[in-house]
Symmetry: C2
Subunit: 532 residues, 2 copies
């Protein structure tokens, strides 16, 4: 029960010495160093009248230290250039901005999957299913979309406008469980599945649970998707990096995992979990089953929870490296390792980024922790129903014999084949250039080419206080309108330079995109070859 007076009276000065000590902070903002920002601490300032209370100095220093390069300086500059092209066409060296900084396929004209949109449209305006309208509706919508919408409406009380269960609609979670069972051949429990605001929301929630105090560390791959470093910076936890092996198609090295873990634990870091992104972002690599098994055993042996970011599981482009889920390997090995696996509607061929739908499956997680995860979810009420419905279609598409089956398959295949062609084409282009080399994309939506930047340029950038790859990418943007993300935004092996580019530009514009990049890179190298 609540008693104000007692509670307030017993309060005392509550200042954590550690939080006050910048030196202490420095060691735990490893994540931050990836993006070259150091967290310093907020001052306790009692402002004078007229001065701001909330300033850069007083705000949460962990948020201040956060960096997220995917929507960082280069995309922000790209946005300004886009506005300039609108207001002053012809004022730049290029006609349009090519946004390769983010896996946002529909922004680049990828067509949405028709069946998915038919179902969501009917649910939105369910009057279309009423006796007075259904005959006309049938002229516009196939029977299975109508039936699916009716069915799905029946388990949300007739409307997508009400809060649902905080873990998401039970029937959708049942369909997710069936999807996982069919994928892996092992049982999945709908009560272990939680629908979320994109996979990002799922990752953030699980990291929040794991980080109990500032000594906690989470192992992350380098290069990594910067959501992980951003979240760990926010939580003031240690990002404990391990390297992916570029020379081995970005597979994990068990030796480097061991090195990273033992060094960190020797340094007093309470390492609790390991993040794996498979297929890889930004690398485009896809882990072999044998490699996954090694990782599972490593985590089991060393008491680490696995966070498997598997949002690109259907973006797979080679026969040699098929997608194998961590869940499947954990079950095959009969391992008791704790696992959270993440999936999303934003990627794959669905590409419904704007809808913000995702989920996690929790495997071997303590029952009481599951209860806590439900409670935490309930504070945010529920994931948005539109995202939940898209997940439902993704995991339960039209079946053979359904009116929409052929179209659904054809749309998915068209997108898939086109992505596969573009992935290959872009890799060939990168590998044809001097001072560049690039692994093929085995999966995901990205290439992460290695650039050997000229020494003179590296020195020039460093003199300006800029990361050399950031400066290279900014020059690329100014010259071509192509917006990519520098490798330093993801982390990379010291002394190497990369950038991440999606291969999502439209196929009919793809040659122009490649030509524009090639011209820039060749010109750039030409310029610096004369300086060296």
């Amino acid at each position: 029960m609540f008693s104000l007076l007692t509670a307030t009276r017993t309060a005392a000065v509550a200042v954590c010495p550690a939080v006050r000590n910048p030196a202490f902070n420095g060691i735990r903002t490893l994540a931050t160093s990836i993006v070259a920002t150091k967290s310093t601490h907020a001052a306790k300032v009692t402002p004078n009248a007229g001065e701001k209370v909330l300033t850069l100095e007083t705000m949460n220093p962990n948020l201040r230290a956060m960096e997220y390069a995917v929507r960082g300086a280069i995309p922000i500059r790209a946005e300004a250039l886009k506005e300039q092209l609108k207001s002053h066409p012809g004022s730049l060296l290029f006609k349009q901005i090519t946004a390769c900084n983010i896996g946002n396929p529909q922004q680049l004209m990828q067509k949405p999957i028709t069946f998915l949109r038919q179902v969501t449209a009917l649910m939105e305006y369910s009057d279309l299913l009423s006796p007075g309208m259904i005959e006309t509706t049938r002229k516009l919508f196939p029977e299975d979309a109508i039936e699916r919408a009716r069915h799905n409406l029946s388990f949300v009380g007739g409307t997508p406008g009400a809060y649902t269960h905080s873990l998401g609609i039970f029937e959708v979670r049942q369909n997710v469980a069936r999807f996982i069972e069919q994928r892996d051949g092992f049982p999945a429990n709908p009560n272990n599945i939680c629908l979320t605001t994109g996979a990002s929301g799922a990752v953030e929630r699980v990291l929040d649970m794991l980080v109990s105090d500032p000594s906690v560390g989470i192992m992350i791959p380098i290069p990594q998707y910067p959501l992980y470093t951003a979240s760990l910076t926010r939580l003031n936890a240690h990002a404990v990096p391990y390297y992916l092996q570029e020379e081995k198609d970005w597979q994990l090295s068990q030796a480097d995992l061991e090195r990273s873990l033992s060094e960190s634990r020797a340094n007093g870091i309470d390492v609790r979990a390991l993040v794996v992104i498979n297929p890889g972002n930004p690398t485009g690599g896809c882990l072999l089953e044998s490699n996954i098994a090694e990782i599972v055993r490593f985590c089991e042996r060393n008491n680490l929870v696995i966070l498997a970011d598997e949002v690109y599981q259907s973006n797979i482009y080679t026969g040699t490296n098929p997608f194998v889920s961590f869940k499947k390997v954990v079950m095959q090995l009969g391992s008791s390792v704790e696992l959270f696996s993440f999936h999303s509607i934003s990627k794959g061929m669905i590409g419904e980024c704007g809808r913000r739908g995702g989920y996690y499956e929790a495997v071997n997680i303590d029952e009481q922790v599951m209860g806590q995860l439900l409670k935490v979810a309930s504070v945010s009420l529920c994931p948005n129903v539109s995202g939940q419905m898209a997940i439902d279609v993704m995991v339960n598409p039209p079946k053979v014999g359904d009116p929409s089956h052929a179209q659904y398959e054809q749309e998915m295949d068209l997108i898939y084949q086109s992505m596969k062609r573009r992935a290959k084409k872009l890799a060939i282009a990168f590998n044809s250039l001097p001072n560049m080399s690039c692994n093929d994309a085995q999966g995901a939506m990205y290439l992460f080419p290695n650039i050997e930047l000229p020494k003179a340029f590296v020195e020039e950038a460093e003199a300006k206080g800029q990361a050399p790859d950031s400066l290279y990418c900014m020059q690329m943007l100014e010259a071509t309108g192509i917006s990519v993300v520098p490798g330093s935004g993801f982390g990379q092996y010291p002394g190497t330079f990369h950038f991440r580019s999606t291969f999502l530009p439209q196929e009919d514009l793809f040659d122009d995109f490649i030509d524009g990049f090639k011209r820039f890179h060749l010109g750039f190298m030409q310029q610096y070859s004369t300086k060296n």
Copy 2:
């Protein structure tokens, strides 16, 4: 730039002494005491093989300490009873669960606003606007919905399936700014508006910015909406409570604000902001303009940022207490006080809870902080487009002369008048009962009646280790199927007891709902009158 080896080698044991000390923690989890849970700290446990890594003991203790009664023990029990009614009809004393625990109108059969759903449906399946389909579409959709969908599609690149700007679509923010200008008569800037995942997402983001370390305190009303205490517990900050005056229709007392602030600051708490919920949740009160002006001046004088939770701004039921925004009063006074104001599509007459749409307007906020807010938003990529579109309709409804204008107005008015009738009817019912008194709802969706619980019952509950109002509410649920939230979940003046009930049950079932409650309460009082 990132260097793994250096970073890892310099790491040292990073344990914050304060975080290790339970006594220290006790004083700052004031918020927690509202809901009777004490945070204790996570142990650094290196589990033995086969033991779990993530347990109740090792998890983030702030999350463990969080409570959110709106979806707490009573709603969870209600869910179980609902399942029982499905599997064993007739096995309980009632035929259905009446969910009065949460403002979720469409769950209780409130009809969605047609125009809003027409626009979102057309955007979902935009093929309906194609030359081949548009003629048939016109038979099902009015012209202004078609036009609005076309217009809105034009500023999301033709699809609601792509990520948008992290603050939300610029054109939607422009419409929000116009809506605010028309409401208040003062300018609003779209760049100061940020669309979010419901108002909850907005509140959490702003609190995250404000809490820079554990000495920070945020003033909250008692009773309050438990999102605030849950978020402050998560952030390990001080909830600094002030009391709303039940005897004065829940207006704020300046004397109590002064008392609360000076006591807390004297105790070393770095009080930075004041939360006001207007119209009130759970109280149903609505602040007078003169009271708002007092609060603004108080905050200005005392260097406090104002967080104005104004999600019920269109749920207003009396002529005496109209809604006046904090923004308007700040502008009228020419105040430089820093203000965040929150709004949502989940409430009002729109009631689109499942869509998770909301926004905040930032007023007088430091420019650099605005940049940081953008960066933080970008890590979550963007708010869901479906929620953004509903906000657009809410702030920019059909105009006089538009085909949908009359229907829109009529639907809004029907819902409004019905809510107003139900609010009054429920208050009359509560006030007709012994040991109960209740302020009328001047706004919002709730009543918060005061119950004088019999002494014998209070002792009985306390002997069981339960909050007396929780036990009362649980007994109500078991007897009637009515699910409400005990006052202890919101905080209340010591020694008083309340519960929060929505007045959202359907109007044709409303008398039954009231009768069920009356029978329970009279029986309850009867039982205990004989014991006293």
